[in-house]
Symmetry: C2
Subunit: 747 residues, 2 copies
Amino acid sequence: MSKKLFGLIAVSLVFVLVGSAQKIMGFTDANAAKQLEWEKQFDAQLNPKNQDTWMQFLTSHPHHVGSPQGKLNAEYIAGLLRSWGYQTEITNYYVLFPTPKFRQLELLGAKPYKAKLEESTLSADKTSGQKTEQLPSYNAYSADGDVTAELVFVNRGIPADYEELEKMGVSVKGKIVIAKYGGSWRGIKPKVAAEHGAIGCLIYSDPADDGYGIGDTYPEGGYRPKDGVQRGSVMDMPVYPGDPLTPNIGATKDAKRLAIKDAPTIMKIPVLPISWEDALPLLQSLKGEVVPAKWRGGLPFTYHVGPSVDKVHLNLAFNWDIKPLYNVIAKMPGSELPDEWVIAGNHHDGWVNGAEDPISGMVAELEEARAIGELVKKGFRPRRTIIFCAWDGEEPSLLGSTEWAEDHQEELKQKVVAYINTDGNGRGFVGAGGSHILEPFFNEIIEQVIDPETGVSVRERKYAQTVVTADKAGREKIAGDKNMKLEALGAGSDWGGFLQYLGITSINIGFGGESQGDQYHSIYDSYDHFTKFMDPGFQYGITLSKTTGRTMLRLANADVLPFDFNSFYKTVADYVTEIKKLLDDARAETEQENKMIKDKLYDLAKDPTKSIQSPKPKDEVPFINFSSLENALVQLKKKAEEFQQQYNNGTGLPAEKQKELNEILYKAERSLINDKGLPRRPWYKHQIYAPGYYTGYGVKTLPGIREAIEQRNWKEAQDNIEIVSKTMDAYIAEIEKAKAIIEKKAF
Amino acid sequence: MSKKLFGLIAVSLVFVLVGSAQKIMGFTDANAAKQLEWEKQFDAQLNPKNQDTWMQFLTSHPHHVGSPQGKLNAEYIAGLLRSWGYQTEITNYYVLFPTPKFRQLELLGAKPYKAKLEESTLSADKTSGQKTEQLPSYNAYSADGDVTAELVFVNRGIPADYEELEKMGVSVKGKIVIAKYGGSWRGIKPKVAAEHGAIGCLIYSDPADDGYGIGDTYPEGGYRPKDGVQRGSVMDMPVYPGDPLTPNIGATKDAKRLAIKDAPTIMKIPVLPISWEDALPLLQSLKGEVVPAKWRGGLPFTYHVGPSVDKVHLNLAFNWDIKPLYNVIAKMPGSELPDEWVIAGNHHDGWVNGAEDPISGMVAELEEARAIGELVKKGFRPRRTIIFCAWDGEEPSLLGSTEWAEDHQEELKQKVVAYINTDGNGRGFVGAGGSHILEPFFNEIIEQVIDPETGVSVRERKYAQTVVTADKAGREKIAGDKNMKLEALGAGSDWGGFLQYLGITSINIGFGGESQGDQYHSIYDSYDHFTKFMDPGFQYGITLSKTTGRTMLRLANADVLPFDFNSFYKTVADYVTEIKKLLDDARAETEQENKMIKDKLYDLAKDPTKSIQSPKPKDEVPFINFSSLENALVQLKKKAEEFQQQYNNGTGLPAEKQKELNEILYKAERSLINDKGLPRRPWYKHQIYAPGYYTGYGVKTLPGIREAIEQRNWKEAQDNIEIVSKTMDAYIAEIEKAKAIIEKKAF
């Protein structure tokens, strides 16, 4: 071959290589090619049979906090991770975890009824009969209490429902309330009830929401049967999650603890979750007005608001014990940047046998960890440290993850690049929420993971579902844009300590939407149920491993961390628009409503034979000065665009400069933290995302401002605009620092 | 008193009188004052005890077509009207009215069930036990038939539901369908089922719509109990109402009749209405997919689409008898214009004891007639002839009114100024629908009738309710405008022959919205039920008498008929805007949907474990030429405004000219009639209002155009635009004639 010819071929080859080279955000082309090759090998390792085997063991007995199986599971998980080459330890914390000593619920009077408070053993479900090991149905952190009173139905038990009750002239003062599950995190229901003077709270699963109204019930179908109960925590988690006795510090053996009576997150009244079978006689005892149409459930009778004539007797007592937690922490040290940590976490504790919640996510994490272990055997070395965590005590209120985050807060703030959370998983469509700087990065990943049912990318399938289920306006808004928007994160799983307390860039990932039933927090969330109705064959367990595996591996190996400030800007700008609209709408609605009250329209429209009260006028909504925030947004937009335009140059920086750049990038989210925290809940420090004070799981974005407006606290809203503006300024300064590093290289 | 002083006083008096004189549309000030004085005396006559007494008699036994009590009621009503000074006759027609000979419904297979098909006797309801006199629960004009087949649930049984079924891969061919009541007139359900190949149809009352889902059931509350059944006609009334054997002619004894087999409005398959108690075992036998969320009802199990594995056996046979009708026609001849007729009508036949439907409206009409009789005794003389009608056979399909209208069509076209319909009435808010030229006139009346519960005008109260129940957008649209918009009239009561066949200006008036339950077409629609739950004390019966009384008296006495062409223009212009939007939306949606199909989004979004079919592409929606209609609207607006500006001058015309003017005014609506009728249903001749071919009661405005677009028949839509434009031209010509008469006077 002549030199000339060779040269031509070489040029062609380069051209072909460059032309076909798949880019990955944050990688040089050469490193991208290597990375993709490792990912191919990673995928090849994944085997659904492993997930099946592990789930069988991990769900074989109830594995709640403090149970023998819970400890066994931690040891089993640790053993697996250790066997795959991870530096693995079990870290213990000691937390307040109340369990039932005594539970009694009865309807008194002419048609007395004693609630069964028990889920039946089913022959079709082989673990459902483990009665002596199961946690009875209860709400953790309910108060002890023995109360007898009339019953009032409060719909979902959220503040808006109490406004309706007031219109109907019904007070819950001194009463026991009964609320439907749904419409808020469960802990909001007793909290709001207690704020309105109720002395007890029952929460039941209405079949319209969670049972035969949706689909056939277990074991014929997958949905909640008549005696199925949703357990769960009612700790006041929107104030702080984790051990109620040790806010801000790790609940180590000798930690300084609050007295139980002083712990602000323990519920003030007794609360009990019940099945619809137990709720039915109680609901049927209610007199008073028929409920508003939107309050109706799926039971076959006419729902009334109450109060009941016959009284309800609720008697609950708990063992207020300190229980040990077993967090499994498994490290694969980084070859180049051992002090930059990429952490994945999924909890391992369940309320009972917990197959979907949490083991379906746990076994996907394990299979991911195993596959990475296999890659390492083949010579793969992550540049950054990879850490896999299996948290204990998520169910009672993110105990294990929160205590670990509080305990190691300084080190974590220093080292953690990102936290990737998973939890229950099922068949269907990809879903994700998290820090919006991750949005383009995550979209790149889901474009490359193939959906097992359709053969297209999970992103493509998600897009199809989003368009098909959207209404006309929604479709017009989507307008062919296949970008999957990340949800904002409130509460709901173990990211709280990382994202909202420490300001660590976080993402939560899972699949779902095609599961044929749900046994959330019931004894029936079992291996038998999961493998029949939720993800037969663990196809989506494997798809989750592929998705989170890429997320971990790319974050661990990226030359420049794949963060995008434009996405953050766009998202926050949308939030600001929303909030301004919220205020403007509140102003217009208040004006309109006050005029309607003044014009006596409510008085004239109401049925005089009913005890309906017309609403009372509200204070007028002032105009608020958003200018500092708006000015900050202008700067944020400018700086974010400037940075992202030069982002790709970062991969060419010398190693030391690149390290400096990456440190600024992954610490940028820390500047979204305000050390004073949010009003009335200093633990929550992130200024962009928080669980709602009156919604619980439901996120509130720009929470300091948004909740002040919702609570009609105009001064607090104005104060928080200034706080958020300053937070933005600090964040912009970080972007400028990052940009400066790249620019110095460029010239 | 000096002449001079007297003159001054006289001037002052005139000033005071003119200043304080209440205006009424169509009256000179002097005549308005007299009219208002008579109305005051009219109100003073009204006594709720009369309504109570008459209702007790009229509901004492079942009074359906052909029943002994039906005949007795006609004679009783005629006797009352005669005693109050009316020239009263009972006119007979002879109509096909099938009644059950045999009814059998059973579920075969492993869990057999024989339907009860009977409403229980209740001790709290004194007429509920009249078993030998009651018409059994059935759908009149169902076909005879003995069919056995699998069952399919079709939701409401309207065309859109069959599109959903197709997506689910379910066919009703050769099957029996079961549909929920509601969402359309009942006759649409078997018609559409038969079009799709079903061989039988069951219709049941789901408790979510009509039973415990809304309120407590009878007799504790007013709502439909578990075995309550809604009887009713399933004649194909959107083709033509009235006797199926004598379309277009009166069903006199010797009228030429179609053979039953040739009557196009008789249903082609057997149909039976059932209670939810009888429906439950059938619905529970259904297999196949779970129904879409919007299809769910209120029964306590998971609704499936079917088909069932076990078959259903439906066997129905009817006595196809000719029965006599007894229409009561009572005239009070006009003193000045005896050949101008103002007609009021309410039917007297019920399905069983029929207290609310129709006797509550009938007794209000009687009390109105009695009070006018009393005024006549005091010297009152209506200028025009007043006619009170009590129709027989409304329930089977507007038989009595339609046959009378067909029989007297030439005379009615010549003489009738307006037709005022009433039917069932209850506690609550005024409601009215009709020819839009009556809108300002009717608003003037409801401003002057006082609501018995609040002491404000019924218009004021209606406004309050409209605003309070509107959403934000609705409130902004209302924007303080207290005008009560008249609904457009489809089918539903006895105006059909007058409005849609003859082009007679019509209005239907009633109160409702605060009734505490409904026993529509059941044995429980009784005196006991009505007086406890629907209008205790007949307060709204009296309010209805006041409202219709003013309507009658003012139409009878007006100097110039109180019609407003501006209201007609505005309403029709809104309809045209709606229809253009309908077409544009259909075009955009078709384009969007076809693209989604082409992009395989439906294929990708669906659950591959289910038998879901992706939709098929639809033909593209063309642009259509609306210009002739738009040009006509411009003219209509101009001419209507010009006429209304001079309207008040009409009261000053000489008697002969005024008569000429009035005749043009009341015959203007005739020009909205097209003698060829609507496509595929020549009986319906009105070009602005018709019952929907696939909705039944539900009105379709500009039906020729609108339904063609809905059926995607673009050529027919274009053709009907031209037809409606010509109709508009003819209408405009009438307005011009009316204007010319006033103008000649003015100059």
